[in-house]
């Protein structure tokens, strides 16, 4: 491989140590009727290569019937430190669970 040819092409040579390809998060549906579940991540130049690589990497043993790949940059995540503030406290809200209602015990099909 000629280094000169590479440098003169339209794309600039990638900086050493820089990510050459974007990171994709991979989600696999293991069976019809189930949700896609996060399986891992991989690098690929575009979505179609990401899908092919995900197939080879995460479904070598029939682990999936469908794959999603999502650019990792496109995922918005909640701040792990803001646990208390962000996730409303369930304390004092037992009435959101069926077990809160005890008077109907013994009543059939309820």
């Amino acid at each position: 491989m000629n280094e000169q040819d590479k440098a003169s092409s339209t794309t600039p040579a990638p900086e050493p140590g820089a990510h050459r390809w974007p990171l994709w998060e991979v989600f696999v549906r293991s069976n019809r009727g189930l949700s896609h579940v996060h399986a891992g991540s991989l690098h690929a130049p575009d979505a179609s290569m990401a899908l092919r690589n995900a197939r080879d990497l995460y479904t070598r043993r029939n682990e999936g019937v469908s794959i999603w790949v999502v650019p990792a940059d496109a995922i918005a995540a909640s701040d792990p430190d803001a646990k208390g503030a962000f996730f409303e406290s369930p304390q004092g809200k037992d009435y959101r669970h069926a077990t809160y209602y005890t008077k109907s015990e013994g009543v059939k099909h309820l």
Partner: protein
């Protein structure tokens, strides 16, 4: 997803308060044996220790493809060729799962790859031994993968979430590796006298190196203690090694072969399996790059990386061309 806790625009005082709160939360998570996730605050030493361990583990899988790939063209049947190819493909997959896990700690894959081909990164000493006979494929599967399973099963519970999850995937696939190796040895051991001798010779050569895969003895293992305090490691090197010897000593009987160690016995006092002392000087020499195949393994990795450059370039160029085409379509 590799994110560090953001510290931009925060004063030193505020940062130290954030660190104190982070440390308290980290310690509480470790104390209740829960899991640390990529965006959580973690001590720098924890992050460094994990990057070192996970990347070394990934490198071992990638370099580990070589001793077996060496036999794909000469495997004795189409069935054995297919099995060996599937196994080598698995090793590549395991390397990629692990690089992904390491990347969540903020170290890029290219940095890790560069360190490996530059000879700056370590990988398991075992892959620097040669594979001169077909029986070596059996011994690697049975003993090397067997030792790896002993090491890796407790790592499924490692305190760092992405590492544990990668190990669950790896362990599921490893058991096929060990069984196929055992089967190769069993067939050779029940074959001609020459075949049986070849199987015994391979077991003799791989026994000590596979015991050394568990790492140095506990009193000479600098990282073990901290690693166990952080719930990354669950059992000491000697503990796992002893368990492995106990399994091997039973399984070798089924093969009709012997282990090259006359000192194996169950120690009633310690409830552990004793074995003959290992040559730790040899271990250090191989780790330091002076094993039988170190130079060859690194050179092969380097040339594979360089020879594959055109594939990576072509894929990038194609992706760019497609993106430009799509942009034109949208504009039109």
């Amino acid at each position: 997803m590799a994110q560090n806790v953001q510290s931009g625009g925060v004063s030193t005082h505020e940062q130290s308060e954030l660190d104190a709160a982070g440390a308290e939360n980290f310690d509480a998570i470790i104390a209740r044996d829960s899991r640390i996730e990529p965006r959580d605050w973690m001590p720098e030493a924890y992050r460094r220790s994990l990057v070192r361990q996970i990347s070394q583990h990934a490198h071992s899988e990638i370099i580990g493809m070589q001793p077996e790939a060496n036999w794909i063209t000469r495997a004795p049947s189409l069935k054995r060729k297919s099995i060996l190819m599937a196994k080598v493909q698995d090793e590549a997959g395991h390397g990629l799962y692990l690089y992904s896990a390491a990347e969540t700690l903020g170290t890029s894959r290219d940095e890790m790859m560069d360190a490996l081909v530059a000879g700056k990164a370590r990988y398991s000493s075992i892959f620097n031994y040669p594979t001169p006979t077909w029986a070596d494929m059996g011994a690697i599967g049975w003993m090397v993968d067997g030792a790896a399973i002993c090491n890796q099963v407790p790592l499924c519970r490692a305190s760092y979430g992405p590492y544990g999850r990668a190990m669950v995937r790896v362990c599921k696939e490893e058991s096929f590796h060990q069984r196929q190796g055992f089967e190769i040895l069993l067939e050779l051991a029940n074959g001609t006298p020459e075949q049986k001798e070849m199987a015994q010779d391979a077991v003799n050569r791989w026994y000590a190196p596979s015991l050394m895969m568990f790492g140095p003895p506990d009193d000479d293992s600098p990282n073990s203690k901290q690693s166990m305090a952080w719930n990354i490691k669950r059992f000491s090197n000697d503990e796992l090694r002893s368990r492995f010897v106990g399994m091997m000593v039973e399984q070798v009987k089924v093969l009709g072969l012997t282990l090259p160690d006359t000192q194996i016995r169950f120690n009633e006092a310690t409830k552990k399996w004793d074995h003959a002392p290992l040559d730790w000087e040899e271990f250090k020499e191989v780790l330091a790059g002076r094993g039988p195949c170190n130079a060859q393994r690194l050179e092969r990795r380097r040339s594979a990386h360089e020879e594959g450059a055109w594939v990576r370039e072509a894929a990038t160029a194609y992706a760019e061309k497609q993106a430009a085409k799509n942009a034109q379509k949208v504009a039109a």
